[in-house]
Every structure is written in structure tokens, then in C-alpha cells.
């Protein structure tokens, strides 16, 4: 009897501690999530306010109507976001297709063939990843000028394709897990190396390609530094990210319109995130392993 009572007591003690721990755990999670969300929520609230409402109410008071889409329309027109989405779509499509082809081909050759310089090429790419992009642009700018790439969409696209290391890592890692016996049996059947790459290995590489497309896609869509440096003719060459620059200067305090513009610009990222959460998480974990 006594032992039993004791056991119950011990269990109760444990569960009291357990409850405190659980409460702390959830409180901290809720607090951090609140901090993560509040800057965005305030933006959403403000985006639905009319000019008069924006001027007269506190930023955190709810808007009168959640169907006031006037700011979104105004922001879309003012920042010429139709053109911006068009340009971003072109850039995304070409950069993604290009860098997937280039990346998988490079990874195929580096993983499947031994040749002098293989290690050197890997090291060259690893070393390139160390160089901070912003610092490099000091000199890349001069090269872009010399190549007449400044203020051209294709120049920007080619440059964006040339600076991608993480997806190459993902591809190489993935190739390492595809058995070489696949290649060998195809060789016996008389397939050429290009056939092996394109018909046998590329389809198997699909998960890695999807991951690379998502990560690279998000990066390319969000890229703004090089875009504002090399696509200076904003009337013609604005991307979604740089189109937001419209709101600096005289429009800089009309935050209800600015917030609407900001939200439009991050909708594609939000949709991508909701649809492809898993790939994004695993892609980040995979890309970071090599650091």
C-alpha cells in the first residue's frame, strides 16, 4: 500500500513538472510565432485601409472592410507590376531551365568520370561559394559593362546562371546515390553517354531537380541587388522585387499602398511555400550540409 502511494506521488510530481515544461514550451513557441508574424500582419491590416482610414486610425486597428482592394489595384498600376511579373517570369523560366541543364550536366561529368582536373574543378566551385556576392559585384560590374550586358535582360539572365553552387552540390550528392551499374548496363546495350545522361539518369534525378528549382526559383525571384545594379532602365526592365522601388521618394509615406505592393510581391513566394514546404525544408537541409 505504502509503496503504491509513493509511486503515485512520484508520478504526480513528474507530471507537475511536465505541465510547467509544456506550458513554457507552447508559450515560447507562441511568442516567437507572434514576433515572426506581427510585421506581416500589420502590413496586411494596413493594406486594406482607405487613405482617410490610414491617416486617422492606429496601424493595428482593423480596417473597416476586408474587401477594400483599392490599394492593391493602385499599387499594381503605380509600380507597373504587370510588366514586372512578366520580366520576372521570363527571367525565372530561362534561368531555371538553363541552370538545371548546366548543373545536371556538370554534376554528371564530375561524378561519373575520372579525368585530370576533376578535383580542381570541384575545388574551383567550392572556393567560388566562399566569395561574398556583394563584394564580387564591384568588379563584375566592369565586366558586365565591357560585355554590353548592362541594361539587357539576357545579360542579367546569363549572370544569374553563372553563379549557382548549391544546386550543383545537390545534383552531385544525388548522382552519388544512383548506382553506376545503371550506366554500365546501358553502355553494354550500346547507348551513348548523352543518352545515358538524358534518357536514364535525368528522369531519376527528378526529386533533386524539383528541390533545385524551388530553391533557385525562390532566390532568383527575390534577387534585387544585381537587378537594381544591372537592370537600371526601370521603365522597361523592372522585376517584381525592384518594382517596389517605385514606392521610395515622394510616395514613401503612403504605407497603405506600399503594404499592398509588398503583399502582391510576396504572394508568389507564399504560394510556393504553402505548396512545396517539404521540398523547401529538405532542400535547405541538403544545401547546408556542405556549407
Amino acid at each position: 500500500m505504502a509503496a503504491q502511494a509513493n509511486a503515485v506521488k512520484v508520478k504526480k510530481h513528474y507530471s507537475a513538472k511536465f505541465i510547467i515544461w509544456t506550458v513554457c514550451k507552447y508559450l515560447s513557441l507562441i511568442f516567437v510565432s507572434f514576433c515572426a508574424v506581427i510585421p506581416l500582419v500589420s502590413c496586411v491590416i494596413t493594406a486594406f485601409k482607405t487613405d482617410a482610414e490610414y491617416k486617422s486610425t492606429n496601424v493595428m486597428t482593423m480596417p473597416q472592410s476586408w474587401f477594400n482592394l483599392g490599394n492593391f489595384l493602385k499599387a499594381f498600376q503605380k509600380a507597373d507590376m504587370g510588366l514586372a511579373f512578366m520580366n520576372s517570369a521570363i527571367i525565372l523560366a530561362v534561368v531555371l531551365i538553363g541552370s538545371i541543364i548546366i548543373g545536371t550536366q556538370l554534376a554528371y561529368v564530375l561524378d561519373r568520370f575520372k579525368f585530370p582536373g576533376n578535383g580542381l574543378i570541384r575545388n574551383l566551385f567550392t572556393f567560388a561559394a566562399l566569395l561574398p556576392a556583394i563584394a564580387m559585384q564591384v568588379a563584375v560590374y566592369e565586366i558586365m559593362v565591357n560585355l554590353n550586358f548592362v541594361n539587357t535582360l539576357y545579360g542579367y539572365i546569363i549572370m544569374m546562371m553563372g553563379t549557382d553552387v548549391i544546386s550543383i552540390y545537390i545534383f552531385i550528392q544525388y548522382f552519388e546515390n544512383l548506382p553506376v551499374s545503371l550506366d554500365e548496363s546501358a553502355i553494354i546495350d550500346g547507348a551513348s553517354y548523352f543518352t545515358i545522361y538524358s534518357k536514364i539518369l535525368l528522369p531519376l534525378l527528378k526529386p533533386a531537380i524539383v528541390t533545385a528549382i524551388i530553391l533557385k526559383g525562390a532566390n532568383t525571384y527575390n534577387e534585387y541587388y544585381c537587378a537594381q545594379l544591372y537592370l537600371q532602365d526601370k521603365a522597361r526592365l523592372r522585376t517584381v522585387a525592384t518594382s517596389l522601388y517605385t514606392f521610395t521618394g515622394p510616395l514613401g509615406n503612403q504605407y497603405n499602398m506600399i503594404c499592398a505592393g509588398v503583399i502582391i510581391s510576396l504572394l508568389p513566394a507564399l504560394i510556393l511555400f504553402v505548396v512545396c514546404q517539404k521540398q523547401i525544408y529538405s532542400g535547405i537541409a541538403a544545401g547546408a550540409v556542405k556549407g
Binding site: 515572426a36 506581416l40 500589420s42 492606429n58 574551383l124 566562399l130 511555400f273
Partner: protein, 337 residues
């Protein structure tokens, strides 16, 4: 693969060589490697070499260049704005350490049994996917006097009069920027740590649960050892990261009111003032620091890895022992977890 055929056949015409396996291999290697190498050369190594060269010249992007020797490097340490910008990296280093601790805490919690963990994870991670310019606007808005941050603090009982101007007051504005940077990258780092924690063998937790280890002990003896490498790597990377801090001050304050970090100052000197030589010297100087850090990191890991190896062995031995001990009740436990 296929080297034999080429060797046996001996001398061949070029056409025959092309048809052989060896020839095909060479062709495909060259065909697949030439474009990426060309891009890598044009946009990384050529500019790298140019930058080193530029750093010895007084020049603009177009027009005459004048060789000035080490003058640019001397100016680097003589100019007040550059020297003071270097000091700002301390803020970002502290921020990075806080971020790592926070990310580690969140990752630990979220990899345990938590309700709605997917939602929490998603909410905390999403800021990482927002473009830089949007971040700039969001935080200009967030920190404006009387706006979002001030309102939230007023809910907590602070008086508006006692609050500083978050982006103008020089005693606080760098912390404001660091905060926005933590906001943006904490979730990404958390996801990274969760990935590392998930790679730990599940049976270890079960065994620990059986042994009555509490959550803190589980963290200390199971989770931490298994992600030691990635945490250390992140701590080391935070040093170079804070030296090259750029985004937050660039998009939010544009470096005004003493928030210009090294790269923000460099960006202005290069693209606004067009003092390319000086900017190149700055870039080269920072690259040198980054190389030194990287080499130290490699050495550190070489050293740590030697000890880790012994550690690993004892851990796998322990794992086996734990597994054997837990073998009998394991079936029952699995259902409960």
C-alpha cells in the same frame, strides 16, 4: 570505362578515336563542362583577378586609370567611415549568436512531440522567403514612430514618450537592424538544425525515455552531440557573415545614421562615388579576412574531427548497448511515441 578498347586498338585516325568509348568520353566531358566553366571564369575568377588589380589603381569604371600602389589600402585605415563601419560587425556577431541559440532552442522543441508543429515551423520560417526590398519596407513601416512596434510595446504598458526612435537613435538603431536580420534568418537556421536533429536515431530517444532522462538531459546527451558539428560550423560562419552584413542596413536605412556596415559603405563608394579602386581594396581586405577564417575553420575541424572520431566510436558502441537493453520493451514503447 572503355579505356581498354582505345588501348588495344593502338594507333587510330581521329575519326576512329572519336567513335571509341574513350573518345566519346572526352567529347562528353568537354561538352558538358565548357559552359559552366566559362560562366564560372567570367563571373567569378576574372572579376576576382580584376578586383585585386583594381585595388592598386585610382580609377572609375570608365575613363583613365592611375597606378597608386598601396594608397587605397592606406586609405582604408585612414578613413573614419570605413573604420567605424568595421566596428558594426560586433552588433551582427552578437545577433548571430542569439539567433543560433534561439534557432537551436526552437529546433529542439519542434523536433519533439508538439501540437501544430508544422504551423509553428511554417510561421517562423516564412520570413526567409520574402524579398529584400519588401523586407526594407516592412521594417521601415514596423519601426516608424507610433507605428507597429511602438503600438505593440504600448500594449505591454510602455509609454510612447519613453521609447526611442528605432531607426534614428544611434544608440539603438543598429540593434533594430540586427533584430530584423534575426527575424529573417532565424527560421532558416531552425529548419537546418531540425534536419540535423531528425537524422538522430529514434531509438536513442526511446531508450532515454525509458531510463527516465528528462528533456534537458535528452538535449544535452543526445541532441547536442549529434549536431555539434553543424552548430560549430554555424558559429564560425556567423563571424564571416557578420563581417559581410549588408542586407538589413542596405534596404532599411540605406546606411544612414551610423548604420552603414562595411559592405554598405563599400557599395556606396563603388557604385555611387565610383571610387572603384578604393572599393576593390575594401573587398580584397574583407576577402582576406574571410579566407583566414575559413582556413582556421578547416584546421579546427581537422583537430575536432580527430577527437570526434573516438567519440563517435564510443557513441555507436553505446547505441548498440542501449539498443540491446531496450530490445524487449521496444515494441511497447514504439506504439506510445
Amino acid at each position: 570505362m572503355g579505356t581498354n578498347t582505345a588501348a588495344v586498338a593502338g594507333k587510330k585516325t581521329f575519326g576512329q578515336w572519336l567513335k571509341s568509348r574513350k573518345g566519346q568520353q572526352t567529347v562528353i566531358i568537354i561538352a558538358f563542362i565548357i559552359i559552366p566553366l566559362l560562366l564560372l571564369f567570367t563571373f567569378t575568377y576574372l572579376p576576382f583577378a580584376e578586383m585585386v588589380k583594381f585595388s592598386f589603381y585610382k580609377m572609375k569604371y570608365v575613363g583613365a586609370r592611375k597606378f597608386v600602389g598601396l594608397d587605397n589600402y592606406r586609405a582604408l585605415f585612414a578613413r573614419k567611415d570605413i573604420v567605424s563601419s568595421l566596428k558594426l560587425c560586433l552588433y551582427y556577431m552578437v545577433g548571430a549568436l542569439i539567433q543560433i541559440a534561439l534557432a537551436l532552442y526552437l529546433a529542439t522543441i519542434l523536433s519533439m512531440k508538439v501540437k501544430a508543429s508544422g504551423l509553428f515551423k511554417g510561421l517562423i520560417f516564412f520570413p526567409y522567403l520574402i524579398n529584400g526590398i519588401a523586407i526594407g519596407f516592412i521594417f521601415k513601416f514596423f519601426y516608424t514612430r507610433g507605428f507597429v512596434f511602438d503600438t505593440v510595446l504600448q500594449w505591454c504598458g510602455f509609454q510612447l514618450d519613453s521609447l526611442p526612435y528605432w531607426l534614428k537613435d544611434q544608440s539603438i538603431n543598429n540593434w533594430s537592424l540586427v533584430g530584423s536580420s534575426v527575424w529573417r534568418y532565424c527560421g532558416q537556421q531552425m529548419v537546418l538544425f531540425i534536419g540535423a536533429i531528425m537524422s538522430v536515431d529514434d531509438t536513442l530517444y526511446e531508450a532515454a525515455d525509458l531510463d527516465g532522462a528528462n528533456k534537458f538531459q535528452q538535449f544535452k546527451y543526445i541532441i547536442l552531440p549529434s549536431i555539434k558539428t553543424i552548430v560549430t560550423l554555424n558559429i564560425i560562419l556567423s563571424i564571416t557573415g557578420s563581417l559581410s552584413a549588408f542586407e538589413a542596413p542596405f534596404v532599411i536605412t540605406d546606411g544612414a545614421n551610423g548604420t552603414g556596415t562595411f559592405f554598405v559603405v563599400m557599395n556606396t563608394i563603388a557604385h555611387t562615388n565610383q571610387k572603384v579602386g578604393l572599393a576593390s581594396a575594401m573587398a580584397v581586405f574583407l576577402l582576406c579576412i574571410i579566407f583566414i577564417c575559413t582556413i582556421l575553420q578547416k584546421l579546427f575541424f581537422k583537430f575536432a574531427f580527430r577527437n570526434m572520431h573516438a567519440d563517435d566510436e564510443s557513441r555507436s558502441a553505446k547505441k548498440k548497448r542501449v539498443k540491446a537493453a531496450a530490445a524487449q520493451p521496444a515494441a511497447a514503447v514504439k506504439g506510445g511515441r
